[in-house]
């Protein structure tokens, strides 16, 4: 644990990425609170102003305005909490399912394991984004539905990982001892085995967040994401694509926001993976 922490601290890229993640989280929470309190800053993200439509970045609208004269900067800041909420909650849902399924398969083994893993293999054959799109379109696009669907589709990787960890852990001495003492399955799973598989689970969780953010952006882009007027990074691009040749700022900035957010999570996750890995990658 301590060694992992030290290794993580030595990784400058990882630290920068973690800082970025922290900054994004602060922005998301701050603007969520501002939104709830009804204090628009720097401008009201939904306020239209047709006299100032499709203007390039200037001193009033720092990142320009869209076709209804709404301030792109305010909309970007306001879209941050949608992206991060989708990212975090979807990962939470997928972790919950993945860990449970993987733990059951890995702990019980035999035919339970065979059946569950066949099912997981089958789900993994589906083109993930198409499956998400189909389900979201049929249920109806809303932030809640998007989170649930992304979570329901993306748990397979976690399940495989937890199962593999559990298959090795169940043979270990302390699990054998716990079983010999007559402890029940659930208690052994949650008290003894899960904490020992926590590190790789944490890594997949962090790496799962950007996947969910990108999936939400893609859905929003196709019009099946969070519905307007609520701004999200994906739907600002979707709305802006009509004006692509006149208003590059409508495409460039939200895309950069998605890129930076996803990249920060990926780099943090990778640094975590390197830190908790038992074997060093260096030769």
């Amino acid at each position: 644990m301590e060694r992992s922490l030290r290794r993580f601290r030595a990784n400058k890229i990882g630290l920068c990425a973690l800082g970025m993640v922290g900054l994004l989280a602060v922005i998301a929470v701050a603007f969520f609170v501002l939104d709830v309190l009804g204090i628009p800053w720097p401008m009201d993200p939904d306020a239209t102003n047709l006299e100032r439509k499709l203007l390039p970045p200037d001193s009033v609208n720092w990142l320009g305005t869209d076709n209804l004269g709404r301030d792109v900067f305010s909309r970007l800041l306001n879209g941050a909490y949608i992206s991060l909420t989708v990212g975090f909650v979807a990962v939470f849902v997928s972790l919950f399912i993945g860990v449970t399924v993987g733990a059951v398969a890995g702990y019980f083994g035999k035919w339970v394991d065979k059946l569950i893993m066949r099912f997981v293999d089958a789900i993994m054959c589906f083109p993930t984004f198409f499956l998400i799109l189909t389900a979201v379109a049929l249920v109806g696009p809303s932030i809640f539905n998007i989170i649930i669907v992304i979570g329901l589709v993306s748990w397979t990787g976690t399940a495989r990982l937890v199962r593999a960890e559990f298959l090795t852990l169940r043979e270990s001495a302390y699990v054998q001892a716990a079983r010999a003492l007559g402890q029940r399955g659930p208690k052994i799973i949650f008290r003894h085995m899960l904490p020992n598989a926590a590190a790789p689970i944490l890594v997949t969780a962090v790496l799962g967040v950007p996947e969910a953010i990108l999936a939400e952006a893609g859905l929003s882009f196709l019009g099946f994401g969070v519905q307007p007027p609520q701004a999200t990074w994906g739907n600002i691009i979707a709305d802006g694509k009509t004006y692509i040749l006149d208003a590059w700022w409508l495409i460039l900035f939200p895309g950069l926001a998605i890129l930076i957010a996803a990249l920060s999570f990926y780099l943090t996750g990778d640094a975590l993976r390197q830190a908790v890995e038992t074997r060093s990658e260096r030769q």
Partner: protein, 320 residues
Amino acid sequence: MTVFIIRRLLASVVLLFFISLISFFIITLTPGSPYPWGELNPKVSEDVKRIFREKFHLDKPLHEQYGFIMRDLFTGELRSIKDERPVLAKIAERLPSTLALNLGALALSLSFGLLLGVYGARHAGRPPDVITSVLAFVFIALPGFWVSYLLAIGLVNYGAVPILGTHTIGVTFSNGLEVFLDRWWHVMLPASILAIGGVAVQSRFIRASMIETLREDYIRTARAKGLDENAVFYRHALRNSVRPLITGIGMLLPALIGGAVIIENIFAYPGMGRLGYEAVLERDYPTLVALNFVTAALVLLGNLLADVLYAVVDPRVRLE
């Protein structure tokens, strides 16, 4: 070998059954109306609704519906709700474009992934490796639709790369070769954008596999007998670390086909992804079931192919 392939085929049948269950229930169990008109549309009479329900077996219980839909799918009788054409025919006419796009993207992912991964491993731990690693994550984090639009602006203004459709419209080519080249010229841009993420993922796997191989005893032996570092690296280590190249076939396919939904839309490319998007818009249930089933089956085929190929390439793998 034959026994192995037969066993894998049998296992695939089981998987295919699960796949059919999932693709059917994802669509039927989600709330929402399967009717092309709204559920409560007063202009549609009860009779029309009843006839519609009977035609598409919607008046039967779910397990019977599943039976009907699978029977119809395999006999080619399954028809789209929208235009009542056989779904398999609709998919078949999109298949060549889809294969060209996805196989092109797959080839790009594997080849450039290999280059980037080997380069990273060669300089492991040093600045070039750090740079390629960060670059790989930038590639994974890039939203494909965003890159498409940025590139489209650039290419419309400063280049002569086609950004729409599968072939040049209004031009008749004199021979087959030109037609072929024209098609590939059109596939290139969407395939490259689709491949960006795949290149990055592949490079990470190749790099990891390479670094692991470099720790083997026989590499130490090769170095100890005085072989020059390049020979050790490219002749001894590289050959034994190409495993991700083959497993990548099966692993990248779902992401590629899924990502193609967006890319095909942007570049007006008539593949299965676009068919799927149109079916989603029209709530065309039979087409959606069939598309999900067919794409998953294609991925399964890719996995099977990868397994067999893996055993052929690597004699250490015993076929059990």
